[in-house]
């Protein structure tokens, strides 16, 4: 198992938490209460359909509690299971388990949905815990979409603490999409741990749009020789949002390949951070690891931070990383505007293109369409917010 699974409680001196407002997260956690009672009536099957953009097999949790009437896992083929198990002792949260047996290939997306709903009457925010375990046997193949959604608060907000553990057998293949679209006042602290067997491959795309404070930590442990991890992600950070994406890829075996592509857009007073770390353990050979972090700053008050790290303890490696921070290309903007496209739309187009660059590689068509819709609406919101805020780059257009 990887080190992070046993990591001590983070402190502000912990480099992995460098850009996360740890004090604020702790304070919010202190102030939160565990949810109890029934599923709020506001959560309907239609709402879930809209949230995930599809029907089909799914496990639904509302405030950390499994909701059988919203879930649907009855028509799965042999060897594919979506279950809920309670951790021993009964004190822990229920765990969503997605299992695909040895040699089984299942192409349809399996969905795990966590919905955070604030308590309409309470002042305190609700703290829910989301636990998911995804296991693929040898030669298995699956597509899993995990969605973290939420409803806007009344007076109180929500806090979600999530942990997803993924284990891949030898030669297993998983496409995993993590979509976080919680309410804009929500707090989200997520952790994804991926353990890979020999020659297994994971393609993960993470979409971070929601949450007031949202931390998305991904730890990939390339444990078997020849394992491959392709990670992509986007984050759109506006308002007073703070998004922190932390990726660690641990090359513990030889001949492993990893690739990271993360694009971030910050506007308004948002603060987006990307920390990526490639670790190559001693004694490994034939490592190929790449990482790129591109960031777009749209507003004078926004902040983008990047921390692309390499920690390399073997010599037979090819590792590269690149990080850029900049604004929209004036030439491209001028080109679009000279063809009669209004400023807001032109900016939205460019932001959309910048983000789609990452999400267009999603292999599953329905998932790609759903993510594209999310990205386009996020891009147009970011464009509107930042066009209002920034001074025009050249004389204001005629009404």
């Amino acid at each position: 198992m990887s080190v992070t699974a046993h990591a001590p409680i983070p402190t502000e001196r912990d480099e992995r938490w460098h850009y996360a407002p740890l004090d604020e997260i702790n304070a919010r956690m202190e102030r939160s209460v565990a949810p109890c009672g029934d599923v709020p009536t506001s959560v309907t099957p239609m709402l879930i359909d809209a949230m995930v953009g599809a029907t089909g097999a799914r496990l639904v949790f509302v405030n950390g509690m499994h909701t059988a009437e919203l879930s649907d896992c009855h028509q799965l083929p042999a060897g594919v299971r979506c279950d809920v198990s309670n951790t021993s002792g009964g004190g822990g949260p229920p765990v969503a388990t997605v299992t695909v047996d040895e040699g089984v290939r299942f192409e349809e997306p399996l969905r795990v949905v966590h919905v955070a709903v604030p308590d309409a009457d309470a002042v305190k925010s609700l703290l829910s815990r989301a636990r998911t375990i995804i296991e693929l046997g040898t030669d298995a193949h699956a597509v899993v979409v995990e969605t973290f959604g939420g409803l806007d608060g009344s007076r109180a907000s929500t806090m979600t603490e999530s942990s997803t553990t993924i284990r891949l057998g030898d030669r297993a293949e998983l496409a995993y999409y993590r979509i976080q679209i919680e309410a804009l006042d929500a707090t989200h602290v997520g952790h994804t741990l991926i353990d890979q067997g020999a020659d297994s491959s994971v393609g993960m795309t993470s979409v971070t749009l929601g949450g007031d404070i949202a931390r998305n930590a991904i730890h990939v442990h390339l444990d078997g020789p020849g394992a491959r991890a392709d990670l992509a992600g986007i984050a759109v950070t506006g308002g007073h949002q703070r998004h922190d994406t932390v990726v660690t890829i641990d090359h513990a075996a030889s001949r492993c390949t990893s690739n990271q592509r993360f694009n971030g857009v910050v506007d308004d007073h948002g603060r987006g951070a990307f920390s990526g770390e490639i670790v190559v353990q001693p004694g490994t050979t034939g490592t190929d690891a790449h990482q790129s972090s591109r960031n777009l700053v749209l507003d004078p008050n926004a902040e983008a931070d990047a921390r692309p790290w390499l920690r390399i303890l073997a010599d037979d490696v090819r590792c590269t990383h690149g990080a850029t921070v900049g604004r929209l290309d004036d030439d491209a903007l001028h080109y679009l505007r000279s063809r009669g496209i209004p400023l807001v739309a032109a900016r939205a187009m460019l932001i959309d293109a910048f983000l789609r660059n990452v999400t267009d590689s999603i292999a599953h068509e329905a998932v790609r369409a759903h993510v594209a819709a999310l990205v386009t609406s996020a891009a147009s919101e970011a464009s509107e917010a930042s066009t209002r805020a920034t001074r025009p780059a050249w004389p204001v257009e005629h009404p």
């Binding site: 990047a306 692309p308 390499l310 920690r311 010599d315 590269t320 990080a323 850029t324």
Partner: protein, 479 residues
């Protein structure tokens, strides 16, 4: 600090019966106000400087040694050290034949002239090339241009106002653990002042080579370039330096006013310890420049091949509008050497630009780390940074690490960072060997090519020596 407190302290000193014995050759072990007072008294310093040292000491005593760098070394007992010793004259040797043959061989490989070899090893120099008289000529040229270049102690005596105005203005004693230590007990160092509009008539490196002084382990350098002035300064030497002090905590402060430019080059080849990692210098340095004026420029170039541990981040605070910061670095670690080095570029002024180019080479069991920060503050409209750091690994047991931080708070900034890590390309090696080069020659050639862009930034004569130095440093690591 109030004057009452000062008086209290003065009285307490007497209460303990301490006498500053000016004839003492060695301060007692440990760090205390008494020791700081002794150092200050030895150097006949004014009261304000003593107070400054004491302030630094009091602050130092509240600090805990930082543990965040990617370095492994046994704990240092700061109370088990002598903080002042009378400068010892080097033993005079009758001829070069008495010099350690290993060192002589290195001198030859580096292509250092015989006269200079003699001077570096402390052989009595003959009358024809008297280094003292050459130094005097240089001093005259500098004085004619109005450049002040002297030891720090001399500067305190002769130009106290300048020293007082600028000392600690870039690296204050509250800056960090080692800066506080240095501020309390600094032994000596260099002071350089280029008045407005003066282009320093010579590379200060040239002067330095003739007049290499023993500055002790807590060196302090202060360079000020006034409006429109420019200077190129070289610290160190390609020749291997043996030194009995294991811990070196130096502070270098550069200040560039409007349109001024300072180029600071370092070639560091201190004793790195033996092949098993025993011994060697700990080089924990705080170097920072402040581009205080508009259109000013500060450029750091460093070639780090020595020291068991190198821990330093020559940085630039880009305060003036349109100011420029540069950092070019080659860090070579072999055997059990460790380096955690890089830079910080803090963009404050408008249209400030910075370039970072770092080349790390790691061989044997060494660990080489680049750590850098590029920070664009809200006020730095139109700021621009380009960073490239490449690492080369030679051997399976070494490590190369890259820890950059990019923090951008301005939407008009453009920041790019790129890095790569790999071993010497088999194809390149094969190509060279095909043409009859030995594996070692081929590797050295490739490594020199890898470092080329940084060597180009060095003053010419050092660029040549740096290439030779690279070969000497990597001897046995390749092939």
């Amino acid at each position: 600090m109030t004057s009452n407190m000062v008086e209290d302290l003065v009285e307490r000193e007497y209460a303990f019966g301490f006498h500053s014995d000016v004839d003492t050759e060695l301060a007692p072990k440990g760090l205390s106000e008494d020791v700081v007072r002794l150092i200050s008294a030895k150097k006949d310093e004014p009261d304000w400087l003593l107070e400054w040292r004491l302030g630094a000491l009091r602050h130092f005593l509240t600090l805990v040694e930082p543990k965040w760098p990617n370095l492994q070394y046994p704990p240092i007992d700061y109370q088990d050290m002598h903080y002042w010793a009378a400068p010892k004259p080097k033993p005079q040797l009758a001829s070069l034949d008495e010099v350690d043959p290993e060192i002589r061989a290195t001198f030859d490989k580096l292509g250092i002239s015989l006269d200079e070899q003699k001077r570096l090893s402390g052989v009595a120099v003959d009358a024809i090339l008297d280094s003292v008289s050459v130094a005097t000529t240089f001093k005259k040229t500098l004085a004619e241009a109005g450049v002040i270049f002297c030891s720090f102690s001399d500067a305190v005596r002769e130009h106290p106002d300048l020293v007082r105005k600028y000392l600690g203005s870039v690296v204050g004693y509250r800056d960090n653990f080692f800066a506080a230590l240095n501020s309390a007990v600094f032994s000596d160092g260099s002071f350089c002042f280029i008045p407005a509009g003066v282009r320093c008539p010579m590379e200060l490196s040239t002067y330095f080579r003739i007049n290499a002084a023993q500055t002790g382990q807590f060196e302090r350098t202060l360079i000020i370039a006034e409006e429109g002035a420019s200077v190129s300064y070289l610290e160190g030497c390609t020749a291997p330096m043996r030194d009995e002090n294991q811990l070196h905590a130096a502070v270098v402060e550069l200040i560039a006013l409007d349109d001024a430019s300072i180029k600071y080059s370092t070639v560091q080849n201190w004793y790195p310890g033996d092949a098993d990692g025993k011994g060697g210098i700990y080089n924990f340095v705080t170097k920072r420049g402040r581009c205080a004026g508009a259109r000013s420029k500060i450029s750091w170039t460093q070639v780090e091949t020595g020291s068991a541990i190198t821990w330093k981040y020559p940085s630039v605070i880009l305060q003036g509008d349109d100011s420029v910061g540069e950092f070019y670095s080659v860090a070579v670690t072999t055997n059990y050497q460790q380096a955690d080095t890089g830079t910080k570029m803090i963009h404050i002024g408008r249209n400030t630009r910075s370039t970072i180019l770092s080349k790390g080479i790691s061989a044997g069991h060494a660990q080489n780390t680049y750590r850098g920060l590029v920070k664009i503050l809200r006020s730095a409209t139109g700021a621009r940074n380009h960073t490239r750091c490449d690492s080369l690994l030679i051997g399976a047991d070494c490590g190369a690490h890259t820890f950059p931080y990019v923090e951008v708070k301005n939407d008009t900034a453009q920041v790019e960072h790129e890095a790569s890590t790999s071993k010497i390309s088999e194809d390149q090696l094969f190509y060279c060997r095909q043409r009859g080069l030995t594996e070692e020659d081929a590797s050295t050639m490739i490594v020199n090519g890898f470092c080329r862009e940084v060597f180009d930034e060095l003053p010419m004569e050092y660029a040549v020596e740096a290439q030779a130095l690279m070969r000497v440093s990597l001897e046995g690591a390749v092939g």
